[in-house]
């Protein structure tokens, strides 16, 4: 839910901005049709229609030029904002969720502790950097296992997936 609020906020301004850009040419079209004497002269009307068509044809170009820049900015903002899920909150939600049972939670906890001990042992041997890829693979497997178990709580599963980088960093940084 919190994540949804984070994601929804940057999208709204871009949509509004897009609407503003699209409205402006329409106002111009109305202005042309009002000023041109359509009933008086058919040729004038054709000219007006052709001029409006030209303007209508020109619209998408103007919109295409403006929207992607802002969309790119929003995409950048989204990518920056998504990992803002605290690990404490995730752990608390994992403890509280009813999607997995008590024994399963204990088993996951044991797995996480075992993985942490493994990382620590590699740290002590000063072989962490050499085996970082292998450890990251094991970490991804563990995370995938947890996410699969959270099939009945898709929101939590999604948030864990989004916060996977920060979780990995927490494993790495604790030992350093």
């Amino acid at each position: 839910m919190v994540l949804g609020l984070f994601l929804s906020s940057p999208i709204i301004p871009t949509v509004q901005a897009g609407c503003v850009k699209q409205v402006e040419p329409e106002a111009n079209i109305e202005h042309v049709s009002e000023t041109g004497n359509i009933k008086a002269n058919k040729t004038d009307a054709n000219k007006i229609e052709s001029s409006t068509k030209k303007k209508v044809e020109a619209e998408p170009v103007a919109v295409v030029k403006t929207i992607p820049k802002k969309a790119a900015k929003t995409v950048q903002k989204k990518s920056v904002q998504t990992p803002e899920i605290s690990l404490e909150q995730l752990v608390g939600r994992l403890k509280e969720t009813k999607a997995i049972g008590f024994l399963t939670k204990l088993a996951i906890r044991s797995d996480v502790f075992d993985f942490r001990d493994t990382v620590e042992s590699y740290r002590k041997k000063k072989a962490f950097e050499a085996n970082a890829e292998m450890l990251k693979g094991r970490f991804d497997g563990l995370l995938l296992k947890i996410m699969t178990l959270l099939e009945r709580d898709p929101d939590l599963s999604k948030d864990i997936h989004l916060a996977r980088d920060s979780i990995w960093k927490s494993f790495v940084e604790v030992q350093s």
Binding site: T97, I100, T104, L106, D111, L149, R152
Partner: protein, 83 residues
């Protein structure tokens, strides 16, 4: 009468997360430790606890395998096959 209707409505409201039964929980734990179970729920559950806080659960999987799940007082979970 209103209270009755409200309580009935709350009863039939779909919950976001359905709670897991103990049979499903044990089966998931067995499979999580890499043992075949052949289903998502176990049967013939025997639960025992000693004074030190250790817990022993015995259950039968749908494929006929009987397992013992040991939970230590520290919260470590291990599974071994009995038959």
């Amino acid at each position: 009468m209103k209270i009755l209707w409200v309580s009935m409505a709350l009863f039939f409201l779909p919950t976001q997360v359905l709670a897991v039964t103990s049979a499903e929980d044990i089966a998931t734990t067995i499979m999580l430790r890499g043992h075949p179970c052949g289903g998502t729920a176990v049967s013939q559950i025997e639960d025992q606890a000693d004074g030190a806080g250790n817990r022993t659960i015995r259950a039968t999987c749908p494929n006929g395998n009987r397992y013992q799940v040991d939970v230590s007082s520290e919260g470590r979970v291990s599974v071994k096959r009995l038959n």
